[in-house]
């Protein structure tokens, strides 16, 4: 009986102690991240190499799975020509993979030419946000490779997001489709400014909000939206996406609609980090 009472008491005290510690952490995280920074650095030395390994393993497995799936499809369709088709698909798969990679690299290269005035570092995406509310990415390059906070991140023709946190061997990228992300944009040919705002409620459609156009601006579906010259963090002229469904708001002062991002956020494997920072006057 006494033992039971004692064990209850101790676990209660532990609970109170841990609660106080957590509340202290929460309180300090409002003001500074100097408490979490050393912990993040220490943990990242263990976790990031593992994440890289997992990532490579995952890519390898999904490659193999794709192979198996495609082969079984062909088997069902052409049972009589099984052996012949098998050999051909195998070869075909290899070629397909190579062309896929070629396409991807070509796209990256094109993008590289497109924004050639900026210097860039390539990086692999090795992780996603730990919850389902946000969709931040972890990349495998950090301050050791010259990455800094507020650097812009692009991929396959468009803007991915911005670096919000940097460790020595990793960086965290906040994507433009995330709920609390705001990017100042403009129409490429008329320089009319607008705000691109991520929204988790649009996650199924893959679109984001586009708003704050002046009421006298004509916006057509498919207009290219690029990062604006007035943004203080985003470099000018990076393609964000294409406007669609822009209509007047009920206040008759502004117009808003949707934007289809230029980047496919569902299978993002490689990104380019622009190592130039936008210099502001202040």
């Amino acid at each position: 009986m006494r033992k039971k009472f004692e064990s209850f008491l101790t676990s209660k005290y532990i609970l109170i102690g841990l609660t106080v510690i957590c509340l202290f952490f929460i309180g300090t995280s409002f003001f500074t991240d100097s408490l979490t920074k050393p912990l993040q650095t220490a943990v990242s030395y263990v976790v990031v190499p593992l994440q890289k390994g997992m990532n490579n393993l995952g890519l390898w497995v999904s490659d193999k799975l794709d192979n198996l799936q495609e082969i079984s499809d062909v088997l069902e369709k052409n049972e009589e020509l099984q052996s012949q088709v098998d050999a051909l698909t195998e070869e075909n798969n290899l070629l397909k993979q190579e062309t896929y990679e070629l396409d991807r690299l070509r796209e990256l290269y094109e993008l590289d030419n497109q924004y050639s005035q900026y210097s860039k570092v390539g990086a692999n995406v090795i992780g996603i946000s730990s919850d389902n509310w946000y969709s931040s990415l972890t990349i495998d390059k950090g301050s050791d490779d010259g990455i800094q906070v507020d650097m812009n991140v692009v991929a396959s023709g468009g803007l991915v997001g911005i670096v919000t946190e940097v460790g020595s061997n990793y960086a965290i990228v906040k994507t433009i489709v995330e709920d609390n992300s705001y990017v100042s944009g403009m129409i490429i040919d008329t320089n009319e400014t607008c705000i691109v705002q991520g929204d988790v409620e649009l996650m199924d459609s893959g679109m984001v909000h586009l708003g704050y156009f002046a009421s006298d601006v004509t916006v057509n579906d498919g207009d290219k939206i690029v990062t604006s010259n007035v943004s203080d963090k985003y470099l000018q002229g990076i393609l964000i996406g294409y406007a669609t469904n822009v209509t007047a708001d009920s206040n008759n002062l502004t117009q808003s609609g949707y934007l289809i991002p230029a980047v496919d956020f569902n299978n993002l494997q490689e990104v380019l980090v622009i190592t130039d920072l936008k210099t502001t006057t202040d």
């Binding site: 841990l18 389902n132 509310w133």
Partner: protein, 177 residues
């Protein structure tokens, strides 16, 4: 000591499952919440103190890189581990429905708290969408993962226990000879 180290390793593995493998196994962009399984199962199998210990470190891992409010998840997971510990030794270990029911309830409560903090307070009142599109799928997916992982975790837990008793048994035998 060995138990604590093993639990920390498990936390790291589950964290990796969540952030790296999660990308591959996500269904409709929903990744199961692997880390919440740990405090519940260890609380259920080993008692309140163990649940709180695992919950604290799992929560810290969860918060470390992607949360603006460091410590919130740790706080939630500590309480989850504590309350899961109330069911310690109340049920047989093969009663898999008890931990699953706990995952169902605790994950829902935790995610709903997240919704309140992140969205409701920012005037995002469309609770129906958030519950039906994000919270419920995640809860169900996490429950299914619990079903798969429970046996493995129970086995690891037993292994960590038997190591101790075996040693004691050997000593006892030597004494009697």
């Amino acid at each position: 000591m060995k138990r604590k180290v093993c639990e920390l390793v498990l936390i790291v593995i589950f964290y990796l499952l969540q952030v790296s493998v999660g990308r591959v196994i996500a269904v409709a962009n929903i990744v199961p919440n692997f880390l919440i399984i740990l405090p519940i199962i260890f609380g259920f199998l080993k008692g309140r103190n163990e649940g709180m210990f695992v919950g604290f470190f799992a929560g810290v891992m969860y918060d470390l890189y992607f949360s603006s409010l460091f410590g919130f998840t740790a706080l939630c997971f500590v309480y989850i581990g504590y309350y899961a510990g109330f069911f310690y030794e109340k049920y047989e270990k093969y009663e898999i429905l008890i931990p699953m029911a706990m995952v169902l309830v605790f994950d829902f409560v935790y995610e709903f708290l997240c919704y309140i903090g992140n969205f409701l307070l920012h005037n995002r009142l469309n609770a129906g969408f958030f519950i039906s599109r994000i919270i419920i799928p995640e809860v169900v997916y996490t429950c299914l993962c619990t079903l798969i992982l429970y046996k493995l975790l129970a086995y690891i837990n037993d292994k960590l226990d038997t190591v101790k008793t075996k040693k004691r048994g050997v000593n006892f035998d030597e004494g009697s000879i």
